[in-house]
């Protein structure tokens, strides 16, 4: 019982906590983009930064969510965790707990 509960909790942890941080990181990038946009224009005027940077940031803004790193990571972790749980239940030997007689 403990093992199963722990396993499920680990899956929950991986599913919810890491995406929260991942989302926060990406959104922080977005904010930077906004900041960077004005910075870019200023920088562009003062330091003559190339056009490739502008193109890269624009590309990030256009990327659909299912191609984002955080989403792929989450789905992958979920898939791996699901597989692990499946393998565990499929291969575990019967070891009853609760009220047992042992010889």
């Amino acid at each position: 019982m403990n093992r199963i509960a722990s396993l499920l909790i680990v899956v929950l942890l991986v599913t919810f906590v890491f995406p929260v941080y991942g989302d926060e990181g990406d959104q922080a990038g977005g904010i930077n983009l906004k900041v960077g946009k004005s910075f870019y224009f200023e920088g562009d005027i003062q330091e003559q930064i190339g056009d490739d940077k502008e193109e890269s940031m624009a590309e990030i803004m256009r990327t659909p969510f299912y191609r984002t790193t955080w989403f792929i990571t989450t789905v992958s972790v979920l898939a791996i965790a699901g597989a692990a749980v499946g393998i565990y239940f499929a291969t575990r030997t019967e070891e009853p707990e609760g009220r047992v007689i042992e010889w």
Binding site: M1, N2, A5, S6, I9, L12, L13, F16, V17, V20, Y21, D23, E24, E95, P96, E97, G98, R99, V100, I101, E102, W103
Partner: protein, 560 residues
């Protein structure tokens, strides 16, 4: 903000993990323990006589009661087919919290022959805890040493306070209400002992408890079944360094304290037994004379004088021959046999009239003793019978005659004639039964005994339902009358079979000694078993206290 939320989430998960770790209670594991043999059951080199083998079956019967003042009731039964010498199975989905449980296990082989049984009781279940208990399986109708781990038997045998070679001579024992065992006193060569010990059967451990107030041997010990979970132990009289004790004590296993119930005459070699939860202390000898009082200790701990024997005696045997009426009321009856008029047992009661008597309703009545032909072929009345051991056997099938008999084993009698008399170890097994139509006469059947026991102790074990045979465990000791002998100490099981003789048109009883797997009826690892006590618990299993170790003789079923 999101970081705070994440932090709270982690805290919540940690809390969940913690709660998962603490909420998993109520587990209950019964670990079956097996008798000693060579090696482990799961290696290729071991002897599998006492193993649980593939093709065996394990039957677990569960009883419970919410209050130990009420009898256990059947709760469930599970049968497990064994596929491996090691295994684990769930035996019930749930147990009721705050109930007391009794578990009884029967192991049968492929031919459905019962080979091992064992049980534990008085287990209080609370679902806020986890439990792991041991259940020792003994050989049915045979004796084995009680051990927790057969592969490591030297370190895990259930040991008493007696040291190697000392034996349990002169000590007293009884099984408590919760199935634990109590042992006290005895002597080691010339030294009287004040030790007392509780054997914790679910844990298969022993621990010394508060010692007796004074060192004692040959004291009377019996269980007083009061409302407590363990009951209390009555310890009466006995011989100590300062002479004979006159005190009757109660020991409370729960508080580990002794309480004096009062003083009577200084006595030794009195006998005590429990009937309907109360204790009767019969006879005994003062330093100069035999004593003729029967004392009773009531359930509320009151010491009263119950009856006066017709003949004062000690070194006698006493058996419970009480009857129960249709409403369940018990009519207390004690059959008192033989004995001596001196503490050393050198003067048998051999005056014909007073060999036996029956104590009932505060009076002791004479009883005629004769053999099947109306004579006294064994000359019990004229030669006496000293230090024999007797116990009640009951048949639940009344088809062929009385349901109660008393088997008497061992002891010694007066041999020779005239001036050249001597003490001779009894060579017979006697079965006493009430004569049909004459309650004042008891008749005896005789069978030869292959082993003579000078100072045995005896206790019945449970037979199967409607069995034609009944059984009793005998701590035979030696055939030598002197008490310091350590030769030929043995244990055996006596079997009494009831049958109907069509030729003589009467019920006959035949007693025999059951074969044992133990060579020469001895513990091969420690063969010295001096005249120690024997006791039977409520599950019908007998326990014999030998040198250092405790031996179990398993019954065939749980008694009704």
């Amino acid at each position: 903000m999101r970081r705070i939320i994440s932090l709270l989430f982690i805290i919540a998960v940690a809390g969940l993990l913690f709660s998962c770790g603490t909420e998993n209670t109520g587990d209950f594991k019964i670990r079956l323990r097996l008798p000693i043999d060579n090696g482990d059951c799961w290696d290729d080199y071991g002897d599998d006589t006492y193993c649980i083998n593939p093709t065996d079956q394990i039957l677990l019967t569960i009883y419970s009661t919410p209050d130990l003042r009420q009898p256990y009731e059947y709760t469930d039964r599970r049968l497990f087919r064994v596929r491996s010498t090691r295994g684990q199975e769930e035996f019930i989905r749930s147990l009721r919290s705050e109930n007391y449980y009794r578990f009884f296990v029967e192991v049968t082989n492929a031919n459905e022959k019962l080979k091992l049984t064992g049980g534990i009781e008085g287990i209080y279940y609370d679902d806020s805890r986890n439990y792991e208990v041991n259940l020792f399986l003994g050989a049915v109708g045979d004796f084995v040493r009680v051990v927790k781990d057969r592969a490591n038997f030297d370190a895990t045998s259930l040991k008493s306070y007696f040291e190697f070679g000392a034996g349990s001579s002169g000590s007293g024992a009884t099984a408590l209400k919760n199935g634990n065992l109590f042992l006290s006193g005895g002597y080691y060569y010339e030294e009287y002992m004040n030790n007392a010990m509780i054997f914790d059967m679910p844990n298969l451990t022993s621990k010394e408890v508060s010692p007796l107030r004074v060192p004692l041997k040959d004291h009377a010990v019996a269980l007083l079944e009061d409302d407590s979970s363990t009951g209390k132990v009555v310890i009466a009289f006995g011989e100590g360094e300062g002479g004979f004790s006159s005190e009757v004590l109660i020991y409370d296993p729960e508080s580990d304290r002794y309480q004096s119930l009062g003083h009577k005459e200084p006595l030794t070699m009195a006998r005590a037994l429990t009937i309907d939860g109360e204790v009767y202390i019969v006879g005994g000898c003062t330093p100069t004379a035999p004593h003729n009082k029967v004392y009773k200790v009531t359930k509320n701990g009151e010491l009263t004088e119950y009856a006066t024997l017709r003949q004062g005696r000690c070194n006698h045997s006493v058996a419970d021959i009480s009857t129960t009426d249709e409403e369940g009321n018990i009519n207390v009856r004690l059959l008192v046999l033989g004995g001596s008029t001196d503490a050393k047992g050198e003067n048998p009661i051999a005056n014909n009239d007073n060999f036996a008597e029956i104590v009932t309703n505060n009076v002791s009545n004479p009883v005629n003793i004769e053999d099947r032909n109306g004579e006294d072929n064994a000359e019990l009345l004229s030669r006496g019978l000293v230090s024999s051991a007797a116990t009640r056997l009951s048949w639940d099938d009344r088809t062929y005659g009385p349901e109660v008999a008393v088997v008497s084993v061992g002891g010694y009698l007066m041999g020779g004639e005239g001036d050249s008399t001597f003490l001779l170890t009894n060579p017979n097994l006697f079965i006493f039964t009430e004569k049909e139509g004459d309650p004042d006469t008891w008749v005896y059947d005789i069978n030869g005994a292959p082993n003579r026991c000078a100072r045995p102790s005896i206790s019945g074990i449970a037979a199967g339902e409607m069995s034609i045979s009944q059984f009793a465990a005998v701590n035979c000791g030696t055939d030598e009358i002197r008490r310091d002998s350590t030769d030929h100490q043995i244990i055996f099981v006596v079997q009494v079979r009831k049958s109907y003789d069509t030729e003589y048109e009467r019920t006959i009883y035949s007693a025999s000694v059951r074969d044992t797997l133990m060579e020469e009826n001895r513990d091969p690892l420690n063969g010295v078993i001096i005249d120690g006590p024997t006791t039977t618990n409520a599950l019908g299993q007998a326990f014999v206290f030998g040198t250092e170790y405790v031996y179990q003789i398993s019954g065939f079923a749980v008694p009704e």
